[in-house]
């Protein structure tokens, strides 16, 4: 019974916090003033009311649950022999599921095609810059994080490489340093792809032997180095001034002349095609021997190695593949609009990781949904809250999400199994191991 007052306490604290978050803005001369003002205000009644309501729901929850569970999400499966057998049966029914997947995919694709037509141009712009580009980045990082189980915190560096490669090859004015010839950005796609993949190999070859967290910090360092060099090398990249004047994409082929421009919509559809293409390609990869090798490495690296999987080479492959997608996205971004080194900050790298985990690592659809939801949330909050406070809500949503759905929005089947198993104490959910001392498992 002592849990109830504690739950009430927590609810009230939450209510107070919400009051402070939504309350007035303070300053450093009277540091506690703003918090006090938001609590000593009539509004507090509303928040306390909400807190009590929350408490009631929590306390009465178990009883209400039966009713609500049927309507809302099905309860999380417990790992039992029965579940596992069920999982197995589901696997047997793979063929039937494939059909359903195609149907769902087609439906989602239709939504993706129609969606931009019913929203404002600003939203379209955001669908390109924020959602589309980040979905592409997340798909690439997903290969590294989700498939191979490696943590890359400097992923945006490859994006930068792609963008600067575009400026180098496709414009003679964008950067002080440029190619002696000018290429249509379309031709830069393969170049950037290869350059970024090479960069991935160069970075990965010596570092992939490092354990998970060391790899994380080395990649983080690499990302920062690229970012700082881009910002400092005035004579080469143009430094903080950025690269202005990279031409838009255009096609002049067999009578077809089309040029992309400022309008975001054509870019959206181009991105959509690319994203879907990448999803399909990585889907095939995932179901091939390569995908199975990655899964093996993720689940038990030692066993994978003993089974003949060239773990280092497979990780390097993942790294290079992920990097190349990032470089690809960089070309698209650079040809779409002006950029400067700010676009390649450490925070951007973190954000891509957040999109991948939030969406559900290892799941192609998941990471795209992650980009849609997170960036959509950011866009939604633009008008709803003070811009300066936007990231308070954003941060809160991420924490709440991770608490209640650590596997992400749309986890992949394989990953879900891994996580269920890891929760039951079998195997590891990623090659980084579990953060949980095994003893605290319930």
């Amino acid at each position: 019974m002592s849990a109830r007052p504690r739950t009430l306490g927590a609810s009230v604290l939450l209510g107070l916090l919400a009051a402070v978050v939504t309350g007035p803005t303070g300053d450093s001369d009277e540091p506690l003033r703003a918090a006090w003002d938001s609590i000593a205000d009539v509004r507090i009644v509303l928040f306390l009311g909400l807190a009590v309501a929350l408490w009631l729901v929590l306390v009465l929850g178990p009883r209400l649950r039966g009713l609500v569970a049927a309507v809302t999400a099905p309860p999380r499966r417990r790992l039992t022999a029965a579940t596992l057998t069920m999982t197995a049966r589901r696997s047997v029914a793979a063929a039937g599921r494939r059909g359903r997947t195609v149907a769902v995919g087609g439906g989602l694709l239709a939504v993706a095609v129609v969606a931009p037509l019913v929203v404002s141009t600003a939203a379209q712009q955001s669908m390109v810059n924020d959602i589309g580009i980040y979905a592409l980045l997340a798909l690439g990082l997903n290969v590294v994080v989700g498939y191979a189980g490696l943590l890359d915190l400097g992923y945006i560096a490859f994006f930068a490489i792609g963008a600067y490669a575009t400026a180098y090859f496709s414009s003679s004015t964008a950067m002080p340093w440029h190619a002696p010839f000018v290429l249509n950005p379309f031709f830069v796609f393969p170049i950037a792809l290869i350059l970024a993949a090479l960069a991935g190999v160069v970075l990965g070859a010596p570092t992939l032997r490092l354990r998970g967290d060391y790899l994380a910090i080395v990649t983080l360092g690499f990302g920062e180095i690229i970012h700082l060099v881009a910002n400092n090398a005035d004579g080469i990249t143009g430094g903080a001034r950025g690269a202005f004047g990279v031409p838009h994409l255009s096609v002049h082929l067999a009578g077809v002349d089309y040029a992309w421009g400022i309008d975001p919509l054509p870019y959206y559809y181009l991105l959509l095609v690319i994203v879907v293409g990448v999803m399909v390609a990585f889907g095939r990869l995932e179901r091939s021997r390569i995908g199975r090798s990655w899964a093996a490495i993720r689940e038990d690296e030692i066993a994978a190695e003993a089974t003949g999987v060239a773990t280092l080479r497979m990780k390097l492959l993942a790294f290079a593949l992920g990097a190349s997608v990032s470089g690809f996205a960089g070309v698209l971004f650079a040809s779409k609009q002006f950029f400067n080194p700010q676009s390649f900050s450490l925070q951007a790298s973190f954000f891509v990781v957040a999109v991948v985990i939030f969406g559900g690592m290892g799941s192609r659809l998941g990471v795209v949904v992650g980009a849609v939801v997170l960036q959509g949330l950011a866009f939604y909050l633009r008008d709803k809250v003070q811009p300066a406070d936007r990231y308070i809500y954003f941060g809160a949503v991420i924490v709440v999400m991770m608490i209640f759905r650590p596997q992400g929005l749309v986890p992949s089947r394989r990953r879900r199994r891994e996580i269920e198993l890891s929760e039951a104490g079998v195997g590891a959910a990623d090659s980084l191991g579990s953060a949980t001392p095994t003893v605290v498992r319930p």
Binding site: N232, Y391, A396, P406, T436, V439, V440
Partner: protein, 310 residues
């Protein structure tokens, strides 16, 4: 004018900043040692601690902008350290409760903790910005007698001396705590093998909380020291956080003495590097050194066991 002429001065500068990195790095290393988890929100613990200490010290300052000097200033530093530590500890406790514990209960994959930490960090940074304003907040120099002595020609001010001394005292104190007390024994036991530790009657949940709080106390006190010279602001945590994390890895994450060594070394490398090259390349140099060292010694300078540290 040459580098060698400034060598000692740069060393003093580097050691002062490095000692602060070391203090923050301990928080990363302790939590990593116990949970094998990078506590990415630790930088915000540091930020909140520094605000706490700074506001406490400012509240006690006379309104006319003067500083008491001498013993009065020492007392102010003590108050600031205490308040900073308290805020840092509280922040770390809350962080563990809200952003980590629920995940631990669910045995979430490790990356989920990372994202939860990033979310918590975004929340804390922007809430602090909202509550305390987005301007840097200054604490008047508590000591105004400038240089107290010269070390090989390098000027050492009272402020520098105080910061370095307090930081080193905290480092030594923590090292003793981990090496020589029952609590430290518990921490080391959990770090080495949580399963066995629980069989030996160690309360793992408690050790985890304590580890977070100890890291928070240090980061909070370190935050006040940082704010004494470098001002405080809502976004102040990120950079020293990344640096301290780098320092922890450099020394061998999970290793208490490694974090100290890594912090001091990183401070020195930055100081020398910033002098020898354009200062904006100093992070490039710092990260370059990190990568180079990890290539040669993949588990950091001193290896990585918290348990082995003592």
């Amino acid at each position: 004018m040459g580098f060698l002429d400034q060598f000692w001065q740069l060393s003093v500068d580097g050691l002062m900043v490095g000692s602060l990195y070391a203090v923050i790095a301990l928080g990363y290393t302790l939590v990593y040692g116990v949970l094998q988890l990078i506590n990415f929100a630790h930088s915000e613990v540091f930020m909140l601690g520094s605000f706490g200490g700074l506001f406490a010290a400012r509240a006690l300052l006379p309104g006319d902008g003067s500083v008491p000097g001498g013993a009065g200033s020492i007392a102010l530093v003590a108050v600031g350290l205490g308040a900073g530590a308290a805020c840092g500890g509280l922040a770390a406790f809350t962080l563990e409760r809200v952003a980590y514990r629920p995940l631990r209960r669910r045995a979430a994959p490790r990356l989920a903790y990372l994202i939860s930490a990033i979310g918590a960090s975004l929340f804390a940074v922007n809430l602090a910005g909202k509550e305390f304003g987005r301007q840097n907040v200054d604490l008047p120099d508590l000591f105004h007698n400038g240089t107290v002595f010269r070390l090989f020609g390098a000027a050492v001010s009272t402020q520098t001396l105080v910061i370095f001394a307090v930081a080193v005292a905290m480092l030594v104190g923590l090292d003793r705590l981990v090496a020589g007390t029952r609590l430290g024994q518990g921490i080391r036991a959990v770090a080495q093998d949580a399963d066995t530790a629980v069989l030996m009657g160690v309360n793992v949940e408690r050790i985890i909380i304590v580890t977070f709080v100890v890291g928070g106390l240090l980061a909070g006190a370190g935050g006040f020291l940082y704010a004494m010279t470098f001002n405080a602001s809502y976004s102040m945590g990120f950079v020293p956080g990344v640096k301290a994390f780098t320092a922890a890895v450099l020394g061998g994450i999970g290793n208490v003495r490694g974090a100290m060594l890594g912090g001091l070394l990183l401070g020195l490398v930055e100081s020398y590097g910033g002098y020898l090259f354009q200062a904006s390349y100093k992070d490039v140099i710092a990260f370059g050194v990190l990568v180079a060292i990890l290539m040669i010694r993949p588990s950091g300078l001193l290896g990585e066991r918290l348990g082995r540290a003592a």
